[in-house]
Amino acid sequence: MSQEQFWVLFSKKLSGEASAEEQAFLESMIQSHPEWQYAIQNLTDLWKSQPAEDTSAGEDALMLHLHRMNELNISLDGNYQETLTSAGSVKKFKRWYWAAAVLLVMAGLFSIRSLSGSSNPGDEVAGQLNEISTRPGSKSKVQLPDGSVVWLNAGSKLTYNKDFGIETREVMLTGEGFFDVTKNKGKPFIINTSSIKIKVLGTAFNVKAYPEDKQTETSLIRGSIEVTIRNRPNDKIILTPSEKLVVENDIAHLEKDSKKQEIRTGNIARTELPVINTLMSINKLKYNPVDSTVAEIQWVNNKLVFRDESFSELAVKMERWYNVEIDITDLRIGEERLNGIFESETIVQALEALKEFIPFQYEKNGSKIIIHR
């Protein structure tokens, strides 16, 4: 028997396609090769291992489906009314599809456990501010009075006026947030960070503006947004979907003539860029070609995703994610480029995984981690 025949038989057995005779034969063969046991057992376990299913996506889709049937006058009570005219309903469906995408986010891919946001409704008269903040290591979802939803990443703060939504929709962000903004043409939604101001009508995007980071990043998922940089309020940058604007923070605060003009562009060239006295670039979002997810917003799904990032960049993210302090003592190690995803890993598991790729040692003392060669 050739090795190919072995694999044909074995895969038939796993798939429930093997006859009793074939199964018995395979069994006797495996028994006479104890060195195969481990692999055979693992392959069988792997075959049986089913990934957990995301039921919330199904629930949302079901809701949309039933709504659509209702719109097509197809009653679930058993009376046939009208047959499907599939082309006519495409437009409506598109709208509902997006509503579903938003609902999916709201439906709680997150457990309540991670919600540590505290809402302080009364900062008394003067400011009349609402403030929502997250500690390092935790995340939170907030629904604003206008229905817009904001996911706050670890160690972030969102503030807005008590009269939010009455005349304007304006918020202040420190840290990172994913925004899904409801449409309201009359009242643009404005996000202020220390270095930029973003104006939107209705769209979804991610803003990363941690004060300790060198850069502020704005990643657009859909719709369009208008960004102005603090020291140049007259220049407006329009982002289109799948683009990411990166602004160097310290530069954004400098006076307008103190820095030589310089524009960097990422892997797409943009000639229509306004000339701005700051270091900035527009890049394409980092898509994962396998499942077409966007790296920039995976934190919303409880995933810490890094694509072609240096170890020191990753370390900053890990500090927030795990609420730890990471000190990389060796420059060369810090410059190693990495790709990957952390999901359910603990900090120790994450470090061990990284060790497979970069030769380093670490010492962990409480929440302090020192990394050296």
């Binding site: 028997m1 050739s2 090795q3 190919e4 025949q5 072995f6 694999w7 044909v8 074995f10 895969s11 038939k12 796993l14 798939s15 396609e17 006859s19 005779e21 074939e22 034969f25 063969m29 195969w36 481990y38 692999a39 057992q41 693992n42 392959l43 376990d45 792997l46 075959w47 291992s49 089913q50 990934p51 957990a52 299913e53 995301d54 039921t55 996506a57 199904g58 629930e59 889709a61 079901l62 489906h65 039933l66 659509r68 049937m69 097509l72 197809i74 679930l76 009570d77 058993g78 046939y80 499907l84 599939s86 082309a87 469906f93 598109k94 599809y97 579903a100 396998v290 499942d291 497979e356």
Partner: protein, 197 residues
């Protein structure tokens, strides 16, 4: 992995009692996989979602006829394929793309590491091996392992021979076995009668 028997029971409840709960349960059971299957052909999440909705409208409207189907799973996948091909035709996009051209997402890379007695490195290699399966092998592996179709059904759905399905499944498993250092050398054992050819 879905099986035909529970699906048959649900279809019967829908047909004979207009059971809405059964209809919803069936939708929940199959929505994710059918959407992925439709996506592989249509390459658009939005259209795949709509196709599944179309398909389930059809299920409701034809519920009286669906109780006599031998393999409902096979029915769902063939109908999904036909609906997808019709759409491509209507949109004047590529006609009847062959399985090699489908964009297949494999959920098998998301196995639960807790259940497996393997090193991290091995699991990484397995994910990589799954991700790197050649196009035709991917769709076959998915339909058999993740969607629970029989070899014969996969062969008919993809218009290939059953021998091809056997061979492609063997390739997939051999590659996974390799990650676990299982390499079968030529063996001096006689083949059972059924395998002689």
């Amino acid at each position: 992995m879905p099986e035909n028997d529970p699906i048959k029971r649900l279809l019967a409840a829908i047909a004979f009692a207009n059971d809405q709960a059964a209809y919803k349960e069936l939708f929940m059971l199959l929505h994710g996989r059918l959407k992925q299957f439709a996506y592989s052909i249509l390459k658009s999440q939005e259209e795949a979602e709509e196709l599944v909705s179309d398909l389930f409208i059809r299920v409701w409207e034809k519920r009286d006829q669906l109780t006599s189907i031998e393999s409902p799973l096979f029915y769902f996948y063939t109908t999904a394929k036909n609906l997808a091909f019709n759409r491509l035709k209507q949109q004047k996009r590529q006609q009847n793309p062959s399985p090699e051209e489908w964009l297949v997402q494999l959920n098998s890379i998301y196995f639960d590491p807790e259940q497996l007695m393997m090193t991290e490195e091995m699991m990484r290699q397995i994910r990589q091996a799954i991700n790197n399966l050649p196009p035709r092998c991917r769709i076959i592996f998915k339909l058999v392992k993740e969607d629970g179709l029989k070899y014969k059904e996969v062969a008919e759905l993809l218009q290939l021979s059953v021998k091809t399905i056997e061979a492609q499944m063997a390739i997939a498993l051999r590659r996974l076995g390799k990650c676990m250092h299982l390499e079968i050398k030529e063996l001096n054992i006689s083949t059972p009668a059924t395998k002689k050819s």
